[in-house]
C-alpha cells in the first residue's frame, strides 16, 4: 500500500515539475550570451535579425523539401517534370493519391509495416522486460555473464552481421524453419536488442528493493511483482523503449529488403516498397506514395513529440 501511495505521489510531483518547466519558456540559467547583452539596443536589433534569419532559413531547409513532397504529390505528371518547376500546383490532381494507393498497393504495405512494428514491439516488451526484470531483481546464477554477453553485442555494428543472420533465419538451427517471408523474420531478431535490456535494467535497478520485498511479504509471485509493481512504475522507460522499437521497424531498410522482398501479394514494408517502385512508376505517383508514407510518421511524431525528444536525451544516446 505504501508503495502505491509513494508512487502516485511521485507521479504527481513529476507532472507538477513538467508543468512548471513548460511555463518557463526562457532558460532559467544564463547561456552563452547574457540577457543583459540582449537587452541593450544593439543586442536587441542583432537578436531580432538573427532570430528572423534562423526561422526563415530553418523553415526553408527543413520544411521546404517536405512542402514539395506534398505539393508535387498533387501535380499532374507533366507539371512535375516541367522546367522551371511550378512553386505551387497549377492544377491539383488529388487522384494521384488514389492512383498511387492502388498501383503501388500502398495500403497493403502500410498494413505490413504496422503489423511488423506492433508485433516487434510486443515481442520486445514481453521478452526484454522479463529479461531485464530477471537480471535486475531476481538475479539468477550466471546472470552477470549473460548481461555482459548481451551488452557486448552493442559493440558489434548491426549491418556487419546481415549475411550470417540471413543464413540463420533462412534455416534456423535445431528447428530447420525457414522464416524468410514470414513476419517472425522481423519479430524474433528484434528481441535481441541489447540497448533495450540496458535501458530497462538500469531503470529497474533504480526502483528500491523495498517495493519488491514488500510485495514478497504480501505473497506476490515473481510475475505478480513484475506485473503489478514494476511495470506500473516503469511507464516512462516503457514509453521510450516502445517508441524506439516502433521507429526502428518503421525506418529499417536493409533487413526487410532481405527477408520480405519480392512476394505477391506484397509483404514489403513501406520503406522498401517505395524504393522498389522507383522503376517504372511516374514521378508524381512515386511522390504521392512517399507523401502517404510520411503522413503516419509525422502524425506519430507530433503526437508523441515530447516523449520522443525526452527519450532521445534522457533514455540515453543512440546515433
Amino acid at each position: 500500500m505504501a508503495a502505491f501511495a509513494a508512487f502516485s505521489n511521485r507521479a504527481r510531483q513529476a507532472r507538477h515539475d513538467r508543468r512548471a518547466r513548460n511555463r518557463a519558456a526562457t532558460p532559467a540559467t544564463r547561456t552563452l550570451i547574457s540577457n543583459v547583452a540582449l537587452n541593450r539596443a544593439r543586442g536587441k536589433i542583432t537578436y531580432r535579425i538573427v532570430l528572423t534569419l534562423v526561422i526563415v532559413v530553418f523553415t526553408l531547409v527543413f520544411i521546404g523539401p517536405m512542402y514539395f513532397l506534398f505539393t508535387d504529390a498533387v501535380k499532374p505528371t507533366q507539371e512535375v517534370i516541367q522546367t522551371p518547376p511550378t512553386l505551387y500546383p497549377h492544377s491539383v490532381d488529388l487522384g494521384n493519391f488514389g492512383d498511387a494507393w492502388s498501383r503501388l498497393d500502398v495500403g497493403k504495405m502500410l498494413w505490413n509495416t504496422i503489423y511488423y512494428a506492433i508485433g516487434a514491439l510486443a515481442f520486445q516488451i514481453v521478452f526484454d522486460v522479463a529479461a531485464a526484470y530477471s537480471l535486475s531483481k531476481l538475479r539468477p546464477v550466471l546472470g552477470n555473464v549473460v548481461l555482459f554477453l548481451m551488452l557486448a553485442t552493442l559493440m558489434i555494428p548491426v549491418t556487419v552481421l546481415v549475411v550470417p543472420q540471413y543464413v540463420t533465419v533462412a534455416n534456423m538451427p535445431f528447428f530447420h524453419w525457414n522464416l524468410i517471408g514470414t513476419p517472425e523474420a522481423i519479430w524474433l531478431p528484434s528481441v535481441a536488442n541489447a540497448f533495450n535490456i540496458f535501458l530497462l535494467k538500469r531503470f529497474f535497478d533504480s526502483i528500491p528493493a523495498e517495493y519488491v520485498d514488500a510485495a514478497a511479504v504480501d505473497g506476490a509471485s515473481a510475475f505478480a511483482t513484475l506485473w503489478r509493481i514494476i511495470m506500473p512504475m516503469s511507464r516512462p522507460i516503457l514509453a521510450v523503449v516502445s517508441i524506439f522499437s516502433l521507429v526502428a521497424v518503421w525506418k529499417d531498410f536493409l533487413w526487410p529488403l532481405l527477408v520480405e522482398y519480392g512476394y505477391t501479394p506484397t509483404r514489403e514494408t513501406l520503406n522498401v516498397g517505395i524504393w522498389q517502385a522507383q522503376v517504372g512508376v511516374p514521378e508524381n505517383l512515386l511522390i504521392a506514395a512517399s507523401a502517404i508514407a510520411a503522413v503516419p510518421t509525422i502524425l506519430f511524431f507530433l503526437v508523441f513529440q515530447r516523449n520522443i525528444m525526452s527519450g532521445l536525451t534522457a533514455g540515453g544516446i543512440r546515433g
Binding site: 505504501a2 532558460p27 540559467t29 544564463r30 547561456t31 552563452l32 550570451i33 537578436y47 538573427v50 532570430l51 534562423v54 526561422i55 530553418f58 531547409v61 527543413f62 514539395f68 513532397l69 522546367t83 514481453v126 521478452f127 526484454d128 529479461a131 530477471s134 537480471l135 531476481l138 539468477p140 559493440m155 558489434i156 555494428p157 552481421l161 546481415v162 549475411v163 550470417p164 543464413v167 534456423m172 531478431p189 528481441v191 541489447a194 523495498e210 520485498d213 514488500a214 514478497a216 511479504v217 525506418k251 531498410f253 536493409l254 513501406l270 520503406n271 517505395i274 524504393w275 522507383q278 511522390i287 512517399s290 508514407a293 510520411a294 506519430f300 511524431f301 507530433l302 536525451t313 544516446i317
Partner: protein, 323 residues
C-alpha cells in the same frame, strides 16, 4: 513504515538461521533460480539465435567455401585473398572513408553549431526543435526519394535553382569523377545530413542546457568574447557528449548503406563512386545473380568489423580521461 516492512521482508526472505542441513536452503534457491531463468530464457534464446551465433558464424563462414553438391569445406584465407584482389573492395573502402570524412565535416559540426544557435534563441524554440527533428521521423526511403527527385538532372529542383542563379548545373549523385571530394559523394552527404542531423542536434541541446551559467558569467567578467566563451566554456563542458557522438557517428557512417543505395537506385553511382562497404557486402551476398557468395561477403563483414572495433578501441583509448 517502509523500514518495518523491509526488515520483515528481509527476515522472511533470509535463509533459515538453523545451521543443520544445506539441502533445505538449496531447494528454494534452486526454485528461485528456475523462476529467474524462466524470465530470462526468451531473450537469451533470441540473442543466441540472432546475435551470438551469427557473430561466430560470420567468422566461420569467412574461412569456408561451398562444395559442389552441398555442404562446406575449409577455404583457409581464400575468401580474404579473393576480396583483397577485387579492385571494387579498395574502391568501396575509399568511398566509405570519403563519406565518413565528409559526413564529419558537414554532419558533425553543423548540428553542434545549430544547437549552440538554438540554445541562444529566446523565441520559437519549440517550433525550431520540431522542424529540425521532423526529417528524422520520415521513412528514409521517402526522404531519399525526395532528394532523388531534387537531384534529377533533367527536371530536378536543384538544377533549376542553379540555372536561375546562372550557375553551372550539375549531375549531382550521377556526376562522374572520383576525386576525394567528389560532387556525387557530397550530394549523398547532403541528403544524409538533412535526414539525420535532428537527433544529434537535440542531444547537443540537452547537453548545452546542463552547462552552469556561472561559467559563462565568469568568462565574460574576465573579458572573453563569444568565440572564446565557446572555445573555453561550451566545448570543454560538453566534451564527453562531443567525444561520444563523434565515435558513434563515425561507426554509423562507416556502415552507410541506404543513402547511396536509394539515391543511385542500388547501383553505386557512376563507376561505383558512391559504393560503400556495406553495399559491397550486399552485392557480394545477394545481388550478383548466380554468383552470390555468402563466404566472401562474410569475409568482408569480418574486415569491416575489425576496422570498426580497432577504431572504437583506439578512439576510446585516445580520449580516455587522463588525470
Amino acid at each position: 513504515m517502509a523500514n518495518v516492512v523491509t526488515s520483515v521482508a528481509r527476515r522472511a526472505l533470509a535463509p533459515p538461521p538453523v545451521g543443520g542441513k544445506r539441502r533445505k536452503a538449496l531447494l528454494p534457491r534452486a526454485r528461485r533460480n528456475g523462476t529467474a531463468w524462466g524470465f530470462l530464457i526468451g531473450a537469451v534464446l533470441a540473442f543466441s539465435f540472432f546475435s551470438w551465433y551469427p557473430i561466430v558464424r560470420e567468422v566461420l563462414m569467412s574461412f569456408q567455401k561451398p562444395v559442389y553438391g552441398g555442404g562446406n569445406t575449409w577455404a583457409g584465407w581464400g575468401n580474404y585473398v579473393r576480396i583483397f584482389r577485387d579492385p571494387t573492395f579498395w574502391q568501396a573502402w575509399r568511398n566509405t572513408v570519403e563519406f565518413t570524412v565528409l559526413a564529419l565535416v558537414i554532419g558533425y559540426l553543423v548540428p553542434f553549431a545549430v544547437a549552440i544557435l538554438l540554445n541562444e534563441l529566446r523565441h520559437a524554440r519549440g517550433y525550431l526543435r520540431i522542424i529540425v527533428y521532423l526529417p528524422v521521423m520520415l521513412p528514409p526511403a521517402s526522404a531519399l526519394l525526395l532528394f532523388v527527385y531534387f537531384y534529377n538532372p533533367q527536371y530536378g529542383l536543384f538544377d533549376d535553382v542553379l540555372h536561375f542563379l546562372h550557375l553551372p548545373t550539375s549531375q549531382w549523385v550521377f556526376q562522374p569523377g572520383t576525386g576525394f571530394i567528389s560532387t556525387a559523394m557530397v550530394s549523398v552527404v547532403i541528403a544524409s545530413t538533412w535526414m539525420n542531423m535532428g537527433s544529434a542536434t537535440l542531444i547537443y541541446l540537452a547537453a548545452l542546457q546542463n552547462i552552469p551559467g556561472e561559467l559563462y558569467e565568469a568568462a565574460e567578467l574576465e573579458g572573453a568574447g563569444i568565440f572564446r566563451r565557446i572555445r573555453h566554456v561550451t566545448i570543454p563542458q560538453t566534451r564527453l557528449i562531443l567525444v561520444l557522438l563523434l565515435m558513434l557517428q563515425v561507426v554509423a557512417t562507416m556502415q552507410m548503406f541506404i543513402e547511396s543505395f536509394v539515391l543511385t537506385n542500388g547501383g553505386g553511382g557512376v563507376g561505383n563512386n558512391t559504393l560503400s562497404v556495406v553495399m559491397l557486402i550486399y552485392q557480394y551476398a545477394f545481388a550478383m545473380s548466380g554468383a552470390s557468395n555468402y563466404n566472401s561477403a562474410s569475409a568482408l563483414g569480418v574486415v569491416l568489423l575489425l576496422v570498426l572495433a580497432l577504431f572504437s578501441g583506439g578512439f576510446l583509448w585516445a580520449t580516455r580521461e587522463r588525470d
